[in-house]
Each structure stands twice: as structure tokens, then as C-alpha cells.
């Protein structure tokens, strides 16, 4: 198995690289302007490299964007997507430059479904998750069937990857997309863990004849989406006779370690919706980390990472209390009447903070610091005269509980 870095795709020419460097230091307005332009492009392959260094800023700015066919198609593959430079031949991952030709190929093969998916993506009254779910239900399994038997599409040349790499990637995508709707339904919180493990084991066993790369891609997705389940971690660490599968399991586990470690990078809190997304990811990461800590061979690394993650999460928590709650509350000073939408956003922010607080406490050791921070926030909210007492009490109820909230209100 050769592990050589791929050629840089031809789409990133010198002009584009210059523009990318300029955008890194550009104002928010300029970034949003470029983004609006990129969203209008029929083929955004050329722009993907441009957006790569802006992803963190876009998460904060959260511009309203249509959900494109490519994103809806590839949503289940998010855990295995890597930047072009990080991709290695034989790894159970998918380089980003493969998205556009694969999506174009599916769009051409399934024109009616693609048109319906476009309509779903353009809906403005539904959350991203709801649109992904609605589109996935009609798209993923049919797309998987196409990818299982398709020849190398003409657009593959735009990736800069050899034609020989297509089949493995297409089969890997097919394995994940073929299982995607079932995985989506297995996310039901009421599903008993024994039943979940049975289903996941069956999915992995079903995929094993596809080979190491597809199996590893599916395992990576399952490890990150179902960290609480025993089946994927057992599959990743079990002794196996098949060398390809063994190598894929090792790489899937390595990808998952890197995925957990990524949460220790400098945090970005953004708004309540962004914070909720980050917290959901953190929930999964902590789940897998705890699971890894139970395994003797991973315990040392897991415990060390837990300490780093605790520090990063606490930094995120402190930042979130400031940006999602205290800063918006401070802005209300002098306001005569706070609108319903503002109050709704403040409540969403308070809930997002509590969710994050819950996750941080799973990592241990942050209780007193968090209590103190939440009490400070409660005091700021209690002093915010722009909000009626009942609204202040609602926010304090969410952050600190009813007992603290009732102190703000007259006794019955």
C-alpha cells in the first residue's frame, strides 16, 4: 500500500492562492460578499479551496445559506471528509475535491430526485437538520446504488486524482450512503443499547465484503455518530485476520482520535445555534473519549486528552457565557422594550449554555468554576432593568434553576 500525498488539484491556481491569502485578513462584510458570490456558482469546486481557511469565521458569522445538493448528499460522509493535502491513498477518508464530481455524477443519474432535493435545500422555514433528514430519506440509498456500479465519471479529472482511486472512494461512499438512513433512524434516543449494538454490528458485517476502505469509512462514521455504543469500538479494536480490515480499523480509530483532539483547539462560541452544534459534537467526542478510557490500551492517552479537553471546554464555556448571554444582555441597557425575537434568542442562548455546562461537567473538575460563572451571569441578568422581572426570572431559571429565579419574583 503506497501512501503518497495527492497532487494539488488544478483548481487552486496562483490567482486563487493570492485571493485566499487576502481573504484571511478581510472584513466580515468582504467575506460574506465572497460567500454570496460562491453560492451562486453552478460549480463551486474552484471555490472550495478559497473557503477552507474561512470555515471558522463562517461558523461565527452564520450567514443564511441555501443547502446545496452537494452538502445534502454528503452530510453522512462528514466524518470522513478531509482536506486534499491530508488525504492518503488507502485511507478510509474522502478528499474534499472528490465531492463535486461525485455529486455531479449523482445529479445526472437521478435528475428527478436531485430536483426535489434542490427544492428541499431551498426551504427557508426548516432547520438544516430537518432539511438534511428530508433530503436524505429520498436521496441517500438511491445515490448509494448508483455509486456501487458506476464507471469513473468524466469530471473525475478535475480532482487531480488518478482514475484508479475512483472505485474505492465510490464504494466507500456507497457503503456510508447505503447505511445513512438506517443510521439516521438509529439516532433515536429511545432505542435500547442492546438493539443499537445489534443493528450496528449487522451494518458493519454487511459492509465487510466491500473491502477495507469502505468498511473503514463506515466504521469512522459510526464511531463518531454513536460513541456511546459498544459495537463500533469493539469492531475497531478487535483482533482481525484480514489485513485490509485491520488497517482500516486502525485508521478509523486514528481519525477518531484526531477528531476528539480537534476539540482542544482554540474555541469559537458564536451564537446560540452555533454553540448548540458545537455542544452536540462535544457530546459525541466526550462519549467516545469516555469509552476509550474504559479500554486499558487507550486509557493513558484518553485521560491525558480528557484533561486537555476539559481546559478547552471550560475556555469555551467562559467565552460562551460572555458572547451568548452577557454581551447581548449588556446591549439591552437603556432599551425601553425588548422584543419577543430578542427574548427568544436570549432563552435559546441560555439553553445552549446549560447544554454546554452539562457536557463540561461530564469531563469533571469544572463544577466550582462553572457555578461561579453562572452565578455571575445570573447577577448580571437580575440587574438588567430593560427586561421585565418575569423575563429575567425565565433566563435565571434556565441557567440556575427555579429556586434562584423565584428570588426575583414576589411571593404568591
Amino acid at each position: 500500500m503506497s501512501l503518497s500525498p495527492p497532487k494539488l488539484p488544478p483548481v487552486m491556481g496562483p490567482d486563487m492562492r493570492t485571493m485566499r491569502r487576502e481573504l484571511v485578513g478581510a472584513s466580515d462584510e468582504r467575506v460574506l460578499e465572497v460567500l454570496r458570490f460562491v453560492d451562486t456558482l453552478p460549480d463551486r469546486a474552484a471555490a472550495d479551496g478559497l473557503l477552507a481557511p474561512l470555515r471558522n469565521r463562517l461558523r461565527v458569522l452564520r450567514p443564511p445559506r441555501p443547502l446545496r445538493f452537494e452538502r445534502l448528499l454528503m452530510a453522512p460522509l462528514n466524518p470522513v471528509l478531509v482536506e486534499p493535502a491530508a488525504w492518503r491513498l488507502g485511507a478510509p477518508t474522502l478528499p474534499r475535491q472528490a465531492i463535486t464530481p461525485i455529486a455531479a455524477h449523482i445529479r445526472e443519474a437521478l435528475p428527478y430526485i436531485a430536483a426535489e432535493v434542490d427544492r428541499i435545500g431551498a426551504r427557508k422555514d426548516e432547520s438544516d437538520t430537518d432539511r438534511e433528514s428530508a433530503a436524505g430519506r429520498i436521496l441517500w440509498s438511491d445515490a448509494a446504488a448508483i455509486l456501487r456500479v458506476s464507471n469513473v465519471p468524466a469530471e473525475w479529472s478535475t480532482t487531480g486524482l488518478p482514475a484508479s482511486t475512483y472505485r474505492g472512494m465510490a464504494t466507500g461512499c456507497a457503503a456510508v450512503l447505503g447505511a445513512a438512513w438506517r443510521l439516521h433512524m438509529l439516532g433515536d434516543p429511545g432505542l435500547p443499547s442492546a438493539e443499537l449494538n445489534d443493528y450496528l454490528n449487522a451494518l458493519l458485517a454487511e459492509c465487510e465484503p466491500d473491502g477495507g476502505v469502505p468498511w473503514g469509512m463506515l466504521l469512522t462514521v459510526i464511531l463518531q455518530c454513536f460513541p456511546q455504543a459498544e459495537a463500533p469500538l469493539h469492531a475497531a479494536t478487535a483482533q482481525r485476520a484480514n489485513r485490509d480490515i485491520r488497517a482500516a480499523a486502525e485508521m478509523a480509530l486514528a481519525t477518531s482520535w484526531a477528531w476528539i483532539e480537534a476539540a482542544t483547539a482554540d474555541p469559537v462560541a458564536g451564537d446560540a445555534e452555533n454553540l448548540t452544534d458545537i455542544t452536540t459534537q462535544l457530546h459525541h467526542r466526550i462519549g467516545l473519549l469516555m469509552h476509550l478510557a474504559d479500554d486499558a490500551s487507550h486509557r493513558k492517552r484518553a485521560i491525558s486528552l480528557q484533561a486537555e479537553l476539559r481546559q478547552a471546554s471550560t475556555r469555551l464555556f467562559i467565552m460562551a457565557v460572555d458572547s451568548v448571554m452577557l454581551a447581548p444582555v449588556a446591549l439591552l441597557a437603556g432599551t425601553d422594550a425588548v422584543g419577543d425575537a430578542t427574548m427568544h434568542d436570549l432563552e435559546a442562548g441560555a439553553r445552549a449554555i446549560r447544554r454546554l455546562d452539562f457536557e463540561c461537567r461530564r469531563l469533571g473538575g469544572c463544577g466550582p468554576a462553572h457555578d461561579s460563572r453562572l452565578n455571575d451571569a445570573g447577577a448580571h441578568i437580575a440587574a438588567c432593568n430593560a427586561l421585565p422581572p418575569v423575563d429575567r426570572a425565565r433566563l435565571i431559571d434556565i441557567l440556575l434553576g427555579a429556586r434562584a429565579a423565584l428570588k426575583l419574583l414576589p411571593a404568591a
Binding site: 433515536d188 429511545g190 432505542l191 427568544h344 432563552e347 423575563d391 426570572a393 427555579a402
Partner: protein, 354 residues
């Protein structure tokens, strides 16, 4: 608590009063809670917070010691404290009063204020319908709207010697009777029966792929919903017959208003608690419905023995208890990060059910 599904561990009220009235709490651990008036005051009957078999029966005042209830629930419990009567209508009234203060959020406050504002016009409509029914029975035809007052007065004067009561007392009787005929909840009985029909259809479709506790929960909800719908239809027939004879209804009210009120409110008592159960299903996305089913199994209104006497439909109590024992055998998932979302969902449910 024992884990084996023994049906005799299950709470089984004999009457609707003993079953209590569904309380629209927003704290997830209080899902399916009912309230009733007992000798020691208002009591809460709370399904086991771990999602398993059994209930806690406690004084309403003990709520703060039972769980970390939301601000809304603390205020609602305060509102219920000291109540002398507990019925679906009094509960709806208390819930609206609390929501109107904004304890469940601004949108719930607006909805509660709108519901309270609609109470008086609804009552006026019921009075007008009752007067029209009396006019129709005495004159053979309803009065034109612009002549309703005059004809109603004339009919009441005709009824003075029949009931040996002055017009003012008869007017007060009609006013009080109309109060009983006014729907207490935002979702009236026909609309709720429609929601239940939709739920039954949905669950029949969804239950095919389920197994284990989820399958038992779906079967429990379907069984109880179907039986409740059948009983509600039977009770509706007898209530309609009662309403059709307006003069007989008024005579019955004068003779024993408690008995007539009881008969008229049977359907409301029977269906009480189903609005919240249906809305949990409606508010849940397709990929979280097993979780919703386990919650619905806790909330599903139990049919007391009195239901058979009211409707004339026999029910196999032991079979229902066994089904409940199986359905409540799952593991509770309502914890941790899910709690915040569930409180927000329960506040949305308040908008529709209060």
C-alpha cells in the same frame, strides 16, 4: 422497585376523580403527572421519574422536594395549592393564569391571554345556543339572531310556571348550565377525537418496524387510544341525547345540577390528558419516535373502572395492566443534554393544549 413486569405493581384508579386531572407541567421528569383533591389537600400522582412502573403520590406542596421543577411548574403548583375542586376545566383555567404571567415564555403568554379572552365569548355562544334550543322546542323553529333576545325572554316567561322559578333564577340557571357546556380546553372534544384518530393511524404505520419496549409502548398507546375513542363516541351519543331535549336538560339541572354537570363533562374527563400525549407525538421528528413512545407510555391516560360504567363498554383491566407492565420496562432516556430540549418542547405543547 422490582424489574419483572408484574401487573399488580401498577397503579389502577377506580374512578376518574381518583385518576385526577392531567397537569401541563414542563419539567420532563413530571411528564404524565395528574392532580386530584384528597383529604389532605391537592395531591400529585407522578409516573416513576425513571420511566419504569409505578407512581409517586405526594402532596402538591412537596413538589420542590421531589425534583428540580421549572419556574413555570413551581408557579403552577402554587396556583393549584388549596384548590377545592379539580376538573379539566379548573386545570385549564389555572394553567392559563400561570402562562399569562409569562412563566412559560412570551409566546405561551400571548396564547394564554388569547385563550382567556376567548372564554367569555365562548360562554356567550353557549348561552345563545341553549336559548335557541329552548325556543326551538317551544316554538318549533329557532329565532332569527336579531330577535333572539325578545323570543328568549318570552320563552323564559312561559317556563316560569313550569319550573316554579322566577325569570332571574332561570337566567342564572341557564348561565351556569352554559358554563358546563363551554369547552374548558383549547382543544375541544371533537378536535381531540380527530387528533386521536390521526395518532392511531400513525402508530399503526410506525409500529411495524418496532420491537421490544418500543413495540409494547406503541401497542399500549394504540389499545388505550382505540378504547378511549370507542368510549368517547358512546358517551357522546348519550350526551347528545341529553342536549337535544333543552327543556329536559334545564329541568334536570334545576333538580340536581351536580348530576347533570357530571353527565355533561364525562367526555372531557375521559379524554383528559390525551391532548398532551398526541402533541408529544406530533412534536417529535421521525428519528426520535421510540423515545417519544416511551414517554407517551408513561403519559397515556389510564382508564379507571368507572369508564366501563360510563360508556357501557367492557374492558379487560388485567390485559391492559399487563400491557402497561411490558411497555414501561424500557430504560429512561430523558436525562442530561436532552432535558433542555424537552422543556422547550413542553412549552410549545402548552401553546396548543392549555
Amino acid at each position: 422497585m422490582n424489574d419483572s413486569p408484574r401487573a399488580d405493581q401498577l397503579w389502577q384508579p377506580a374512578s376518574f376523580q381518583e385518576r385526577g386531572v392531567a397537569v401541563p407541567f414542563t419539567t420532563p421528569a413530571l411528564a404524565g403527572t395528574r392532580a386530584r383533591v384528597a383529604a389532605r389537600g391537592v395531591e400529585l400522582i407522578v409516573p416513576h421519574p425513571a420511566g419504569t412502573r409505578g407512581v409517586y403520590i405526594m402532596a402538591n406542596a412537596e413538589l420542590p422536594h421531589f425534583c428540580a421543577a421549572t419556574l413555570h411548574d413551581s408557579k403552577l403548583a402554587d396556583q393549584l395549592e388549596g384548590a377545592a375542586v379539580m376538573s379539566p376545566a379548573t386545570m385549564a383555567h389555572a394553567a392559563r393564569a400561570v402562562a399569562a404571567h409569562g412563566y412559560a415564555g412570551r409566546i405561551a403568554r400571548v396564547a394564554a391571554e388569547a385563550a382567556r379572552a376567548a372564554e367569555q365569548p365562548m360562554r356567550q355562544t353557549c348561552i345563545a345556543q341553549l336559548l335557541q334550543a329552548l325556543i326551538r322546542q317551544r316554538r318549533g323553529a329557532a329565532a332569527p339572531l336579531n330577535d333572539l333576545n325578545r323570543q328568549a325572554k318570552a320563552v323564559l316567561l312561559e317556563l316560569v310556571p313550569v319550573f316554579h322559578r322566577p325569570v332571574a333564577t332561570l337566567t342564572a340557571d341557564i348561565d351556569a348550565l352554559a358554563q358546563c357546556l363551554t369547552p374548558g380546553a383549547a382543544v375541544d372534544d371533537p378536535a381531540l377525537l380527530g387528533m386521536l384518530g390521526g395518532l392511531i393511524t400513525d402508530l399503526h404505520e410506525a409500529s411495524g418496524g418496532l420491537r421490544g419496549a418500543s413495540a409494547h409502548a406503541a401497542r399500549l398507546v394504540i389499545t388505550m387510544a382505540e378504547l378511549t375513542v370507542a368510549m368517547a363516541r358512546r358517551i357522546a351519543q348519550s350526551t347528545e341525547a341529553l342536549r337535544a331535549d333543552a327543556i329536559g336538560l334545564l329541568a334536570g339541572w334545576i333538580a340536581n345540577h351536580g348530576r347533570v354537570a357530571g353527565l355533561l363533562q364525562r367526555q372531557e374527563w375521559l379524554l383528559n390528558g390525551w391532548a398532551q400525549t398526541c402533541l408529544v407525538w406530533q412534536e417529535t421528528g421521525i428519528a426520535a419516535r421510540r423515545g417519544a413512545l416511551s414517554e407517551m407510555a408513561l403519559m397515556v391516560p389510564i382508564l379507571p373502572r368507572e369508564a366501563a360504567a360510563w360508556s357501557g363498554i367492557d374492558m379487560d383491566q388485567m390485559a391492559h395492566r399487563q400491557l402497561r407492565a411490558l411497555a414501561l420496562g424500557g430504560k429512561d432516556w430523558r436525562s442530561g443534554d436532552a432535558l433542555m430540549d424537552l422543556v422547550a418542547r413542553n412549552e410549545r405543547i402548552l401553546l396548543h393544549a392549555a
